[in-house]
């Protein structure tokens, strides 16, 4: 394969991954790594590095727009970053020690889990009640208001420490697998801390860039971020995510979600097979 063919192929694949990731809200990172490893025969560590870079690009680009809309809970995000960054350092450190096959196996399992989550679909919003907020969350003034046509509706933050713990885990997986682990972050805020769904997704996105940047230092030092692999991935995913976000408001995504979930599950099985294979 010549450099041209490789770059163009990876660019197109990344554009598609970014596009589908933005449309379905699952992020592009989860399909990128298997694509690079299984199709383009890129070394696992370099695939993770390229994915990590693209995660920083898309989350920062999207956050620039989301932050202005007023859904993102900045204070909560910055507080939870205490856990995600430490987790990410630990995860990225583990990556250098663990055998690649084990990492591939964990990656496959995470893929299967997010396929299951997206198959299950979005659950209904829990009723928001500012009264049963965590005392610590009250002290830190982490509660916020959800913009709505009838004005701001106040919401509380529940089980702050449990959420913080899950964010640590999300950070470890992010550092170990070069992904944003948005699924776990949303799960922690939406299900555990009882935040409105839209606040959970935008705040999760807001934290992803900082989480990934914490691992990036270690990735750079280990030489996992190869410019030759990273550039088509970064530019492709950015383009795809941009296109996806423009189409998103006027498209029905339920069949697309199902299709994407199937693709993710198939890739997950492949990665698990790589992990346990000879």
């Amino acid at each position: 394969m010549s450099v041209w063919e490789f770059s163009l192929g990876v660019f197109l694949g990344s554009t598609l991954a970014g596009f589908l990731g933005a449309l379905t809200g699952l992020g592009g990172g989860v399909v990128l790594v298997p694509l690079l490893v299984l199709v383009f025969r890129v070394d696992l560590h370099h695939a993770l590095g390229a994915s990590l870079v693209s995660v920083i690009a898309t989350s920062s680009g999207a956050a620039a727009a989301y932050v202005r809309e007023g859904y993102t809970n900045l204070r909560l995000g910055m507080f939870l970053e205490l856990a995600t960054t430490l987790g990410a350092l630990f995860g990225a450190g583990l990556l250098g020690v663990l055998p690649k096959r084990l990492v591939a196996l964990v990656f496959g399992l995470v893929l299967l889990h997010s396929a299951y989550l997206s198959y299950q679909g979005r659950l209904e919003d829990q009723p928001i009640d500012p009264k049963d907020s965590d005392p610590l969350a009250k002290r830190l003034r982490l509660e916020g208001g959800l913009p709505s046509p009838e004005g701001e509706r106040a919401y509380g933050v529940r089980r702050l420490l449990a959420g913080l713990g899950l964010m640590g885990l999300a950070g470890v997986l992010s550092g170990l697998l070069g992904i944003g682990s948005g699924a776990i972050k949303v799960l922690a805020m939406d299900r555990v801390m009882g935040l409105p769904y839209k606040v959970s997704t935008t705040t999760s996105n807001f934290m992803i860039g900082v989480t990934a940047a914490a691992s990036a230092g270690i990735y750079l030092r280990q030489g996992y971020i190869d410019p030759r692999v990273s550039f088509p991935v970064m530019l492709g995913v950015l383009l795809g995510a941009f296109l996806g976000a423009r189409i998103l408001p006027r498209s029905s995504t339920s069949w697309l979600r199902t299709l994407f979930a199937l693709v993710i599950a198939a890739l997950g099985l492949q990665m698990v097979a790589q992990g346990v294979g000879k």
Partner: protein, 106 residues
């Protein structure tokens, strides 16, 4: 605060994408026809530094990685200005972790 953070993020990503694109075009013009070889020249991290096509891409990627760091530094400054000491401390700690991770490389 929202406007400032948004501006830093957007500018960082756009500048990084620009640098990476220029470096990428240069790289493809120079090396495009060559067969791709993975194992050579990747042992040292220093290979991609300096004024070369991959060096330029690498610089763009560094700028991208520094974008969230700049966002945290800006938030720290804004919290200090608001005299919100708790959150100034929280963002300061996050900034330390980020710089600690990166300084090992830079």
């Amino acid at each position: 605060m929202e406007r400032w953070l948004s501006w830093v993020l957007r500018t960082g990503v756009l500048l990084a994408a620009l640098l990476v694109s220029v470096g990428a075009l240069w790289y493809l013009m120079v090396d495009g026809q060559r067969e791709i070889l993975w194992d050579c020249a990747l042992k040292g991290v220093d290979v991609h530094r300096g004024l070369s096509p991959t060096g330029l891409i690498h610089l763009g990627l560094l700028l991208l990685i520094l974008t969230p760091v700049a966002r945290v530094a800006l938030a720290l400054g804004l919290y200090l200005e608001e005299r919100d000491w708790t959150f100034a401390l929280i963002t300061f700690w996050v900034l330390l972790v980020l710089l600690g991770s990166l300084l090992g490389y830079l």
